[in-house]
C-alpha cells in the first residue's frame, strides 16, 4: 500500500495539515503536497479510468507528464474538469472527484470494454458501425460519445478573474532547475534583463531530489544560494508557478502564471497570461522519463522510477512496501537506493542490459539489493493494484522464470529531453543513438525576425544527463546567448560537480524482446487513450506508415498529456514494425501549449462589460433612461426604437414614424461619420473618391455622393458639405467613418502622396441631431439664434451659427423626405442640446425615433441604404444612381472596374420599387423566381427584395428590390415564394412611394 513514511519530504510542512475531499471522502495532507502525493499518502492508488477500455488507472508520474491522475476539481462556478493531480497543490477545502466511470471508480460498468478490447483494436471504428446507415447518428455515435470524454462538463459561468500582462526581456529562462538557474546567473551577470520561470512552486528540479553534489555542497545549497543571488539583482525577475506555455514567431512567448490555483482564497486573478517579447529564450526544461513496454505496465502501482523517488524524497510518500525496479539505464538505481535508505524493501532490480549498470549498480549491490542483469518483466499481476511480477529473460519470448510478490514497480526506459518549447517555432531535432534520445540540433534552431536563432536549449533539455555536464552546458549555452545579444561574456567561475561513472543505456522498446502478441496486447504505450504496442504494429501493418498516420489512426499521443510519455516509445515501436531507423520514421511536431492552459486565461479580462468596446454617443444615457431598444451597429449601439409601456417594437416604430411625418421627430445621428478633407488638391481628391463631381460644389452647399471600391462596388454614401475653397466635410455611414477615413488615407499615402491634402476624422467632435418633420423649422426658431428660413438656409445648404446659445452647424438635408435639419454641436454639449430640443419640441409632441423608423422613412422615399440595397456586389448603376455618376470625369476609384464585361451586362438585376398586390409585406430576403431550373437543378431566380417594410404612412407593405430587367417591366407582377410555402405577388413600381415630387422636404 502507498503511505506517508515517518521521515523525509523536503517540500511538505508536517506542522501544517490540510483537509481535502476525494470522491466525498475527507482526507488529510500537508502544506506542500500535490493532490497526487496527498492521495498516495492516503493509499489512494486508484485515481481514474482510462479513455477507451475504462481500465483502472493510478498515478504513474509526478509532474506535468502525468496521463492518468486527472480529476474533476472544485464545484459550481469554480468547477474544472481534467485537472492534473500531480501539478495541483493541495489546499484546505479542495474537493476533487475521479473521472470517466459509472457508477463508481471502484466498480465501472465501462470496464466491460477491457474484456472486449480484443474486438476493439486501433481504428476499429473505421471498420464498423457503417450498416445500416441511419444507425451511426442514432445508435452508434451516441453510444461512442457517451463513453468518450473524460471530465464532466462545467455547468456554470466561471467565478474567477483573469488578466494579461505584456512584458519584455532580453532573455527568458524557462525552467528553475540547476541548469536554468545557472544559465540565468550567467546571462544576468552579462547585464541582460532576465526572467526566470518555474512551472512548479519550488526551485531546483531533479538535482535536488537526486541528491547531486555541486561545488562540494548539496544541490539544495547551490539552488538556495543561486536563487538568493538572482533575487538580489535588479535586472532579474524570478517567477514560480509560471509555465512557458508556447513559443511563437519573433520572440513571442506565453507565460502561464497560476496566481491563485494553490490558494483560491487569495484576491486577484486566478491566472495571468504573460505575453512576453524576448530576444532570446533559454529552454532549461529538463527531461521526462520513459516507461518500459511490458505486459501489465498500466496497472496502478507501476510508476516511473523517478516518480517513485520524487514522492519519497519530496513528499515523504512510499508507493509500496516492496518495490521492484526495472530499467535499461543507471538512473533507476537511484530509486532503489533511495527506497532502501528509507527502510523500504526492494526485492529486486531487473536490469534489461546484459552487462548491467555502473557505479550506482555497484552501490545498490553493496546495500544488499539483488540485481538481475539481462532480465525483464514478463507480466505484472494485479487488477486495481500491483500484486506480483513475473520475471523473464529480456532476450527471450517471455518464458516466466519466477514470480515475485510486490506492491509497486518502478520502471525506467531512459530519459527524453523536453524539446517542446524548442520545437514550437520550428526547431529541429537529431536522434542520439548512444543516449537513445532526440536532442535539439543547434544548427537548426528556430529563428526570429532577424533570422537569428532564439530558443537555446540548456542542460538536460539539451541532452546533457549528468550533473556536471548539465551545469557546464548551462553555462556554455548561456554564454552563446550572451554573445547573440551582442554583450560581452561575464567573468564567473562555473560550478563543478563530480563526474559519474555510468554504464550506457541500452534501447529497450519491448519487454521481453520477443514478446508474443498476447503480451504485446497488454503492453501499454499511451495509458490514457489505451494505445498498446499491438495497436501501433497493426497500424504499420495496414499501411499507416507515416508517424502522423499512426498517431491519428491509433490516437497515440493525442491524450491530454500530448504523448509526453508515449511519443518516443510509440515512434520506436513503429520504426521497429517498419524495420526502419527511428530518425527515418521521424518525430511529430510539437504544438503549443506545453501543457493545457485555461481558455479563460487566453480571453483574459475581456468578459462582460469589457468583452468588446461599446461606443456611446453623448445622448446614450438619455436613450437608456428612456427605454430604448438597442441594435449593435459596428461597436455602437443605436436605439432601434423607443418602446413605451405596453408597446411592441413594431407599434413603437409606427408611432415614431407617424408623429415625425405629422409633426416632429428627433434622431441621434451622432454616429454618422464626419471627415474633413482639406488642401489645395482637396477638390481633385474628392473627385477621385466620389463617383460624383465634387470639385464643383459651391461653398455653403451640400451634395449627396457615392463612394466605390477600386473593384467598382458601392461602398459608402453620404452628404458632402463644402466648407471653404480648400475644405470639404464628408458625411459617411455609421459603419463607414473609420473605414472611409482609412480608405482616404490609404490613397493619399500610397498612391497620390504628392497631392496636397490632409484629412481628419472629426466624427466624435460633434453630437449630431436630425430634427425632422413639418414643425422642424418652428422648433429651431423657438431655440432662436440663427435664421433657418427657406430663404436663408435652402434645401441642401448648411450654415454655422448659434441655436439657443449652442454653437451649431446646421445642414438642411433630409433622409426622410420631410423638412429636416441636421444640427451638429460640440459633443460635450450634445446631451444638453438634446434636452433643449426635447423641451422646445414639447408643444409639438416631439418624438425621438430610432434606426428602424429611419429605415422605413427612407424606404418610403425610395432612398437606398448601404448594407440593404448594397452588399458588396452592387455597383451604383444597379441602383439607378447613374445621375450621381459624373460622365465628365476621366477617372474615379472604381470606374475602370465598372467597365468590365459583367459590370455592363444588361442582365444585371436593377433596383425597382415593389408593391404587393394584397398590401402585405414581402418577407425579408425573399427571392423572385422565374421559369424553370438551371443546369444544377436550382430554380431560376430573377430578383430579390433588398428592403421591405410595413409603411405606416401608406398603411401597406412596400419594398425595394433588384429585378432582372426591372425598370423595363414597370407594372408587371412577379412571384416571391415564402420559405414556409405559398408565395407573394408584387407589382414592379417606381421606388419612391412617398411625396414623389419632393415638395415636403423643400418647404
Amino acid at each position: 500500500m502507498s503511505t506517508r513514511i515517518q521521515t523525509g519530504g523536503r517540500l511538505i510542512d508536517r506542522t501544517k495539515s490540510v483537509t481535502f475531499k476525494f470522491n466525498g471522502r475527507k482526507l488529510q495532507g500537508y502544506a506542500g503536497d500535490t493532490l497526487a502525493s496527498a492521495l498516495l499518502a492516503n493509499d489512494q492508488m486508484l485515481v481514474g479510468r482510462s479513455f477507451k477500455y475504462h481500465r483502472p488507472r493510478g498515478v504513474v508520474a509526478s509532474g506535468a507528464e502525468e496521463p492518468n491522475a486527472l480529476v474533476n476539481m472544485g464545484e459550481g462556478a469554480f468547477f474544472e474538469p481534467n485537472q492534473r493531480a500531480t501539478t495541483t497543490e493541495v489546499f484546505d477545502g479542495l474537493t476533487a472527484t475521479s473521472q470517466n466511470h459509472w457508477p463508481t471508480l471502484e466498480f465501472d460498468v465501462g470496464a466491460i470494454n477491457t474484456y472486449l478490447s480484443r474486438f476493439l483494436p486501433a481504428g476499429f471504428y473505421y471498420k464498423m458501425f457503417m450498416y445500416p446507415r441511419a444507425f451511426w447518428k442514432h445508435v452508434y455515435e451516441p453510444f461512442i460519445r457517451q463513453s468518450a470524454g473524460l471530465g464532466k462538463a462545467p455547468k456554470q459561468k466561471d467565478g474567477s478573474d483573469y488578466e494579461h500582462f505584456y512584458a519584455f526581456y532580453d532573455v527568458v529562462v524557462i525552467g528553475g532547475g540547476i541548469a536554468g538557474l545557472q544559465a540565468a546567473k550567467t546571462a544576468a551577470a552579462a547585464g541582460a534583463k532576465v526572467l526566470v520561470m518555474e512551472q512548479t512552486a519550488d526551485w531546483g528540479g531533479r538535482a535536488v531530489v537526486d541528491g547531486a553534489e555541486i561545488d562540494g555542497a548539496s544541490a539544495d545549497a547551490f539552488v538556495a544560494a543561486t536563487v538568493a543571488e538572482l533575487q538580489a539583482m535588479d535586472n532579474v525577475t524570478l517567477k514560480t508557478r509560471m509555465m512557458g506555455a508556447g513559443v511563437y514567431d519573433h520572440g513571442y512567448l506565453l507565460g502561464y502564471e497560476r496566481v491563485s490555483d494553490h490558494d483560491p482564497s487569495l484576491a486577484g486573478p486566478r491566472h495571468r497570461l504573460w505575453r512576453i517579447r524576448t530576444a532570446q529564450i533559454i529552454s532549461a526544461t529538463g527531461a521526462i522519463e520513459r516507461p518500459l513496454s511490458f505486459a501489465g505496465n498500466d496497472i496502478p502501482g507501476v510508476l516511473l522510477a523517478s516518480a517513485v523517488r520524487d514522492y519519497l524524497v519530496n513528499w515523504g510518500v512510499s508507493i509500496g512496501e516492496r518495490t521492484i525496479v526495472v530499467t535499461n539505464n543507471d538512473d533507476a538505481y537511484r530509486t532503489a537506493i533511495a527506497l532502501k535508505q528509507a527502510g523500504l524493501s526492494v526485492p529486486m532490480i531487473l536490469d534489461a542490459r546484459k552487462s548491467g549498470g555502473g557505479a550506482l549498480a555497484q552501490q545498490a549491490r553493496d546495500m544488499g539489493i539483488r540485481v538481475e542483469n539481462g532480465k525483464a518483466i514478463a507480466k505484472v499481476h494485479g487488477g486495481k493494484r500491483v500484486t506480483a511480477v513475473s520475471i523473464c529473460d529480456q532476450a527471450g519470448e517471455g518464458v516466466v522464470l519466477d514470480t515475485i510478490g510486490c506492491d509497486a514497480v518502478a520502471m525506467s526506459g531512459g530519459w527524453s529531453p523536453v524539446v517542446h518549447l524548442y520545437s514550437h517555432c520550428g526547431g529541429k531535432l537529431n536522434w542520439d543513438a548512444e543516449q537513445v534520445m532526440f536532442r535539439p540540433d543547434l544548427t537548426r534552431m528556430p529563428t526570429n525576425q532577424n533570422g537569428q536563432g532564439f530558443v537555446m536549449p540548456a542542460g538536460t533539455a539539451n541532452g546533457e544527463m549528468s550533473t556536471a555536464a548539465t551545469l557546464a552546458d548551462a553555462t556554455a549555452r548561456a554564454l552563446d546567448v550572451v554573445a547573440a545579444l551582442g554583450k560581452s561574456a561575464p567573468t564567473l567561475t562555473a560550478p563543478t560537480a563530480a563526474s559519474e561513472d555510468a554504464a550506457a543505456i541500452e534501447p529497450v522498446w519491448m519487454m521481453p524482446q520477443g514478446a508474443n502478441i498476447k503480451l504485446r496486447m497488454k503492453s501499454w504505450l499511451d495509458y490514457q487513450n489505451d494505445v498498446k504496442v499491438s495497436d501501433v504494429q497493426l497500424a504499420a501493418r495496414e499501411g499507416y506508415e507515416s508517424v502522423e498516420h499512426t498517431k491519428r489512426y491509433t490516437t497515440l499521443g493525442m491524450a491530454t498529456d500530448q504523448g509526453k510519455l508515449s511519443n518516443i516509445n510509440g515512434l520506436a515501436t513503429l520504426s521497429g514494425a517498419l524495420n526502419a531507423d527511428i530518425p527515418q520514421v521521424g518525430t511529430t511536431t510539437f504544438r503549443p501549449p506545453y501543457t493545457p492552459i485555461s481558455l479563460a486565461s487566453i480571453a483574459g479580462s475581456a468578459r462582460d462589460e469589457v468583452f468588446q468596446p461599446i461606443r456611446k454617443t453623448p445622448m446614450q444615457d438619455w436613450h437608456m433612461a428612456n427605454g430604448a431598444d438597442f441594435e449593435p451597429v459596428g461597436h455602437w449601439r443605436r436605439p432601434y426604437c423607443f418602446p413605451r409601456a405596453g408597446e411592441t417594437k413594431a407599434q413603437a416604430v409606427e408611432r415614431e414614424i407617424l408623429q415625425t411625418r405629422k409633426s416632429l421627430g428627433l434622431l441621434d445621428a451622432s454616429t454618422l461619420g464626419k471627415i474633413i478633407v482639406k488642401g489645395p488638391d482637396a477638390g481633385k481628391f474628392m473627385d477621385m473618391l466620389y463617383t460624383n463631381m465634387m470639385s464643383t460644389l459651391k461653398v455653403g452647399k451640400c451634395r449627396y455622393g457615392l463612394m466605390c471600391s477600386e473593384n467598382g462596388f458601392l461602398s459608402d454614401d453620404g452628404v458632402v458639405a463644402r466648407i471653404d475653397e480648400n475644405t470639404f466635410l464628408c458625411h459617411t455611414t455609421t459603419g463607414g467613418a473609420d473605414r472611409i477615413h482609412a480608405h482616404m488615407e490609404e490613397w493619399l499615402q500610397t498612391e497620390w502622396w504628392d497631392w496636397k491634402v490632409y484629412t481628419a476624422n472629426v466624427t466624435e467632435q460633434f453630437a449630431q441631431v436630425a430634427v425632422v418633420g413639418p414643425n422642424a423649422r418652428k422648433v429651431l426658431e423657438k431655440l432662436g439664434g440663427m435664421d433657418v428660413s427657406k430663404e436663408a438656409l435652402g434645401f441642401m445648404e448648411w450654415a454655422d451659427g448659434t441655436l439657443g446659445g449652442f454653437d451649431a452647424r446646421v445642414y438642411r438635408i433630409s433622409f426622410s423626405g420631410e423638412l429636416s435639419y441636421e444640427i451638429a454641436v460640440p459633443a460635450s454639449q450634445g446631451r444638453v442640446f438634446w434636452d433643449a430640443l426635447l423641451a422646445a419640441g414639447a408643444e409639438f409632441n416631439v418624438m425621438p425615433y430610432g434606426t428602424e423608423a429611419l429605415h422605413v422613412m427612407r424606404a418610403e422615399k425610395g432612398f437606398i441604404m448601404i448594407g440593404d440595397e448594397t452588399d458588396g456586389t452592387i455597383i451604383p448603376q444597379d441602383l439607378g444612381l447613374n445621375w450621381a455618376i459624373s460622365k465628365k470625369k476621366e477617372d474615379y476609384i472604381g470606374k475602370r472596374a465598372q467597365e468590365r464585361t459583367f459590370m455592363v451586362d444588361s442582365k444585371r438585376w436593377k433596383l425597382v420599387g415593389l408593391e404587393t398586390t394584397d398590401g402585405s409585406v414581402i418577407p425579408d430576403g425573399a427571392y423572385a423566381v422565374g421559369e424553370g431550373v438551371n443546369a444544377n437543378g436550382q430554380r431560376n431566380m430573377i430578383g430579390r427584395v433588398t428592403s421591405t417594410y410595413y409603411s405606416p404612412t401608406l398603411g401597406r407593405g412596400i419594398a425595394m428590390g433588384l429585378v432582372l430587367d426591372g425598370p423595363d417591366r414597370m407594372g408587371e407582377t412577379i412571384e416571391f415564394p415564402k420559405v414556409d410555402g405559398g408565395s407573394i405577388t408584387a407589382k414592379i413600381v417606381d421606388q419612391v412611394f412617398y411625396d414623389k415630387e419632393g415638395t415636403k422636404q423643400d418647404v
Binding site: E80, L538, Q562, S598, P632, V633, A897, G925, R939
Partner: protein, 414 residues
C-alpha cells in the same frame, strides 16, 4: 480488398488482427498515366476516385510530396454544411454534403459523418436579414435550411448564452443535415478506394516541374523521376501558386495561415455545430469529447503553418462570452494550416491556359466540407472538359467582374 465490417473485425480478433491487409498500396510510379493528380489531400483523392468511379478513368496516379491527408484535410475543424447564398456555391456544397451522407457506405470506410446540425448565429439585425436571405435562396436551391428563433437556438444548444450583453442571439440559420465527419478517415477512405481501383497513391513524391509541348501538358518531373500523363489536375491548396508557376501561368491566390484549437475532452455537452460569425468563432464537440474551435485567418502571406496568437485570443474570447461554461476548460493543442485565398474567397475549379492542365484551389477556409463535391465536379471537368458544377468557378471570372461573394450575407466560408 478485404471488406470492412463488424464480422471482419470479429474474424480478425480471433487471430489477434494479424490478417489485415494494407489499406492502400505504396507502389513506385509507372512510366505513364492517363491522368495525374498532384496532391493526395481529400480533394485530390476524391478527384481521382470519381475519375475512376464516374468516368472509368482508372489509370491514374495521385502524387503527394508528404503523406496523404497531411495538409488541410487533417488540420481543419471538420464542419460540413451547404447553406451558402450564391447559386454556384450552394450547388457544389450541397452536392458535397449529399455525398457525405453515403460516403461511409460508398467507400466501405467509416468516415463518421455526423449530421448533427449546424447553426449560424444571427447576432445583429444585419445578420438576421442576411440569413433570412440565405434561407430564401436555399429554398430555391434545394438546400434544406431554416431560420430559427433564439428560443429554438437555446433548445438546440443549452450551453449557449443567448442574452449575451454585447451580442444577444437574435436567431440563427439552421441546417439540420449539416454536421461533421472524421477528417483523416475521409482521406484514408478515398485512398483505400482509389488503391482498390488500381490507382497509384504515391507518397513522398514531390513534383518539381510540369512538362509541356506546344501548349499542352505531357507529364511532370518528380523526385521519383519523370512521369508522363495526358491530363494533369493540380489540387494542392496553399501550394497552388508554386505549381501554377511550374505550369507557366498565374492565379489570383494568396496563401495565409488559418488556425484551430481543441480543448481537453469532456463529457458530451453540445450536440450541434455552432458558428458565431459576428464575433468570429465557431465550435463543435468531437466524438472524443474535445471542443473543436476555429476562427479567422492572418492577413499576411505565410507558409509556416503557424498563425499569430492574437487570432486564437480573439476566437477564444468570443466563444467564452458565447458559451460561458467553457471558460475553465483548457486549450489542449493549437495548430495552423495554410489556406489559399482567391480574390472573392470562392474556389477556382477551372481549365487553365495550358491544355490538359486543370486546377482546383482557392477553397480558403472552407475546403473540408467540399471534398466529395469538389472531387466529383473536378473529375467531370477533367473527363469531359466541362461541368455545370464548375462553370461559374472559372479562373477567368475576376477579369469579367463575375464574382461569387459569400461574405455578402454575413456568411463566412468555414
Amino acid at each position: 480488398m478485404k471488406r470492412y465490417s463488424i464480422f471482419a473485425v470479429a474474424r480478425e480478433a480471433a487471430r489477434y488482427h494479424t490478417g489485415w491487409d494494407r489499406a492502400w498500396a505504396s507502389p513506385e510510379p509507372k512510366k505513364k498515366y492517363d491522368a495525374i493528380i498532384i496532391g493526395a489531400g481529400g480533394h485530390g483523392l476524391a478527384t481521382a476516385y470519381y475519375l475512376g468511379k464516374n468516368h472509368g478513368i482508372k489509370n491514374v496516379a495521385i502524387l503527394e510530396k508528404g503523406w496523404l491527408g497531411g495538409g488541410n484535410t487533417g488540420r481543419n475543424t471538420t464542419i460540413i454544411r451547404s447553406n451558402y447564398l450564391q447559386d454556384p456555391s450552394a450547388a457544389i456544397y450541397e452536392k458535397s454534403r449529399s455525398l457525405y451522407e453515403t460516403m461511409s457506405q460508398d467507400l466501405n470506410y467509416n468516415v463518421m459523418f455526423s449530421p448533427r446540425g449546424v447553426i449560424m448565429l444571427a447576432q445583429t439585425e444585419h445578420e438576421v436579414r442576411g440569413y433570412l436571405r440565405t434561407a430564401h435562396a436555399n429554398a430555391q436551391q434545394g438546400v434544406a435550411t431554416e431560420f430559427i428563433g433564439p428560443e429554438q437556438v437555446k433548445k438546440l444548444v443549452p450551453i449557449i448564452n443567448i442574452h449575451g450583453p454585447r451580442y444577444p442571439v437574435l436567431g440563427g440559420l439552421w441546417q439540420a443535415r449539416g454536421g461533421t465527419a472524421r477528417h483523416d478517415a475521409v482521406a484514408w477512405g478515398y485512398a483505400r478506394a482509389c488503391s482498390d481501383m488500381g490507382m497509384d497513391v504515391i507518397q513522398k513524391c514531390e513534383v518539381t516541374g510540369v512538362r509541356r509541348e506546344n501548349g499542352r501538358v505531357v507529364g511532370v518531373d518528380t523526385t521519383k523521376g519523370a512521369i508522363d500523363c495526358d491530363k494533369l489536375g493540380i489540387v494542392v491548396a496553399g501550394h497552388t501558386s508554386d505549381l501554377a508557376e511550374m505550369a507557366g501561368f498565374r492565379l489570383p491566390i494568396e496563401s495565409v495561415a488559418l488556425q484551430a484549437l481543441v480543448s481537453e475532452p469532456i463529457k458530451p455537452c453540445m450536440d450541434v455545430v455552432v458558428m458565431a460569425n459576428t464575433v468570429h468563432g465557431y465550435m463543435s464537440q468531437s466524438d472524443k469529447g474535445e471542443m473543436v474551435i476555429g476562427g479567422g485567418t492572418d492577413g499576411f502571406n505565410n507558409y509556416t503553418q503557424r498563425g499569430s496568437f492574437h487570432h486564437i485570443e480573439e476566437t477564444v474570447r468570443a466563444l467564452v462570452e458565447t458559451f460561458p461554461m467553457i471558460s475553465r476548460l483548457k486549450m489542449l493543442r493549437q495548430w495552423g494550416g495554410i489556406v489559399d485565398m482567391t480574390g472573392d474567397r470562392s474556389p477556382i475549379l477551372s481549365k487553365t491556359p495550358v491544355d490538359g492542365v486543370f486546377v482546383n484551389c482557392g477553397w480558403g477556409t472552407g475546403g473540408f466540407k467540399a471534398i466529395p463535391g469538389s472531387g466529383w465536379a473536378m473529375a467531370e471537368l477533367m473527363a469531359k472538359g466541362q461541368s455545370p458544377l464548375t462553370d461559374e468557378f472559372s479562373m477567368w471570372r475576376f477579369r469579367e467582374g463575375k464574382f461569387i461573394d459569400e461574405s455578402v450575407a454575413a456568411g463566412v466560408a468555414h
